[in-house]
Amino acid sequence: MTKQGDKLLEIRNLAVQAGDQRVLESVSIDIDAGEVVAIMGANGSGKSTLGFALAGHPRYEVVGGEASLAGVDLLAMEPQDRARAGLFLSFQSPPDLPGVRNNLFMRTSLNAVLEARNEEPVDAFDFLERAKGIAGSIDLPAAFLNRPVNEGFSGGERKRNELLQLAMLAPKLAVLDEVDSGMDVDGLRAIVETINRMRAQGTAFLLISHSLAMVEAVNPDRVAELDGGRIARTGSLDLAREIARTGFSRARESVEG
């Protein structure tokens, strides 16, 4: 695990296109191990795009810039290799996998990541023990482990399922895309506890959100505002509070004329 303070994620002038549309113009940001950076922005500002581009989603084309994780060129890697290198993306809308049991899915995933770290794979029994423990702590009934991935899960349940995977995989960098949406008060608490526990152990977080309550609860080290395809403003938690008071940059501009 990377030590606190090591430079982990470096993004320089990242430009991303979705089809014909240029969504990100030039995004630059650095994140150290154990740091939590909140990315805020209006709807359509490209927050999710940033997450997808880092993870390597086929629909998003990187047309400029660089990104590296722990010194390794992220953009040159296939999505699964980025994951094995320690990148985790919590999806805004996690898809379902009909017929594929949660525990089989997660165990396969965990073993793929463990193999990349030259660690021993986990067998079905050990995995179940670990998973039950974590599931309990985030208020996800153990029965969910036996159900097909996300099939029939509510929005909040899917997010808890993402949280479960986050905790199991212990990535170097976790990009959480609107992880709080659909979550109740207990769910929010579980998110915050998980993030705090993991950041203390060196996991860096890119928290994508447009909710002040979420950002305040997490208490990030930095807040960055995404606007016009770039990082328009950066600051502390105060910036998040200001945004809540006066709106996002674009909204403010259009109001001021």
């Binding site: 699964q80 898809p95 996998l97 995989l169």
Partner: protein, 484 residues
């Protein structure tokens, strides 16, 4: 060979037609190609069959000769020259096979590895003559003792003809009559060997029967004939085939399987088929044209067909159940995978005759490459079938943009009180689902395997345990190269 043709004595002998007493001065292992009455007599004589069986064979041949080759299925089949095939060969001696694993094709061993086939099985599958000592301490012996104690008969068809001819005479052809269809007629005339199972009244067969453990399991030949009889109150689970790829110099396989379940009996027949599918262009693969039918003869009897079909160049089969007994039940659970240039026209027929009969069909078809897969199902409710109920779930998964899947469901009901439910879906592996798996560290092939397994889950659950584990691995192996 050329030397033999040059020898004048041999040439002369070869030129003679086949009389009853075949030429014995040439010790031939294989009958030369050709099919006529004398071929049949020769086969029957070599197998030392009773008169009734010879008569049946001849009747079947006569019928077959009047039948046109069926062409209603959506299959591209090169015309088969039936006179160019040989219809009998003596089982090959294992002594001709590889001496040990080092002589076996490494690609074959690699496949066994991928399929998680147990180490001690690989030698046997590859045709290495296993030590008699090894065999005698194997499951085989304890197996036979247990079966004998229960009164279960499980032997080769030929063995049954010799030792239980009355059972053969009573039941053979009662479920698939010799004129039923073109290939059943051919099989009825020239069948080589197969399995025979008889479960006495009230007996639950103590273990799953596998064609694998049957004596002479390797030498079933191309026209296999199997007969399973379950007396009242009995139960049996039978496994046919294995996940290991099977090659054969005979391209045409036209088997017939008949199942008979009496009152309160249950027969479960599971198949895992991985015959050589041909190369990527579809050349040289095996044609699997099989007639499988179960008869729920008795009240409250049940027959269940479960299959995983991933091989063969062309698959043409409709395992069916005739629900004659009142309150009888038929089930069909199938996973069929086609890749490259494979073709499959497959499905089932559920014929409801008795009262309050039920049937369930779950068909999962996966197409990849340039393959074409068709589901063809018939649910027939006869005028006598009061209170019948069928439920059909027919799902297709298409991988890539060059393959095809078609569904031909036939519902033919003569009653207004029948409940027939049919549901069908066609899907692709979505980009988002694939990406989700990749983001969790899986490469596209592993992800596809997982998603396909999920698609097939309902059927995998029906397979006997050891088959289920192998079947998952087989699905992954069959779809190699389909994604990415």
């Amino acid at each position: 060979m050329s030397a033999a043709h040059d020898d004048p004595t041999i040439a002369q002998t070869l030129a003679r037609p086949y009389p009853h007493g075949f030429v014995t001065d040439i010790d031939s292992e294989t009958l030369p190609p050709g099919l006529d009455e004398s071929t049949i007599r020769e086969i029957s004589q070599r197998k030392r069959e009773p008169e009734f069986l010879l008569k049946r064979r001849l009747a079947a041949l006569e019928h077959w000769m009047t039948m046109p080759h069926p062409d209603w299925a959506k299959l591209r089949i090169d015309p088969i020259d039936f006179q160019a095939l040989s219809y009998y060969s003596v089982p090959k001696s294992l002594a001709d096979g590889p001496k040990d694993l080092s002589e076996v094709d490494p690609k074959l061993l690699e496949t066994y590895e991928k399929l998680n086939i147990p180490l001690h099985e690989r030698a046997r599958l590859a045709g290495v003559a296993v030590d008699a000592v090894f065999d005698s301490v194997s499951v085989g012996t304890t197996f036979r003792e247990q079966l004998a104690a229960a009164g279960v008969i499980f032997c080769s068809f030929s063995h049954a003809v010799e030792n239980h001819p009355e059972l053969i005479e009573r039941y053979l052809g009662t479920v698939v009559p010799l004129g039923d269809n073109f290939y059943a007629a051919l099989n009825s005339a020239v069948f080589s060997d197969g399995s025979f199972v008889y479960i006495p009244e009230g007996v639950r067969c103590p273990m799953e029967l596998s064609s694998y453990f049957r004596i002479n399991a390797r030498n079933t030949g191309q026209f296999e004939r199997t007969l399973i009889i379950a007396e009242p109150g009995s139960e049996v689970s039978y496994l046919e085939g294995c996940t290991a790829p099977q090659r054969d110099e005979n391209q045409l396989h036209a088997a017939v399987v008949e199942l008979i379940a009496h009152d309160d009996a249950f027969i479960k027949y599971s198949t895992v088929q991985n015959w050589y599918p041909g190369d990527e262009e579809g050349r040289g693969g095996i044609y699997n044209f099989v007639t499988k039918r179960g008869l729920c003869a008795g009240a409250r009897s049940r027959i269940s067909w479960t299959q995983v079909e991933t091989g063969s160049a062309i698959t043409w089969k409709y395992p069916s159940v005739v629900l004659r007994g009142d309150d009888s039940n038929g089930e069909f659970h199938s996973i069929a995978v086609t890749h490259h240039r494979q073709q499959a026209d497959t499905g089932t027929k559920m014929i409801h005759l008795g009262k309050r009969t039920t049937s369930r069909i779950v068909s999962k078809g996966i197409s990849a490459g340039h393959s074409q897969q068709n589901y063809r199902g018939l649910v027939r409710i006869a005028p006598t079938a009061q209170g019948a109920h069928n439920n059909t779930q027919c799902d297709s998964l298409l991988i890539g943009g060059e393959c095809g899947a078609a569904t031909y469901p036939y519902i033919d009901t003569a009653r207004t009180d029948a409940l027939v439910e049919h549901e069908a879906t066609t899907t692709r592996i979505s980009e988002d689902r694939l990406f989700y798996c990749q983001q969790r560290g899986m490469d596209p092939e592993e992800a596809t395997g997982l998603i396909v397994g999920g698609f097939c889950q309902a059927v995998l659950e029906e397979l006997p345990m050891e088959f289920a584990l192998e079947a998952r691995a087989l699905l992954s192996v069959s779809l190699e190269g389909a994604v990415g």
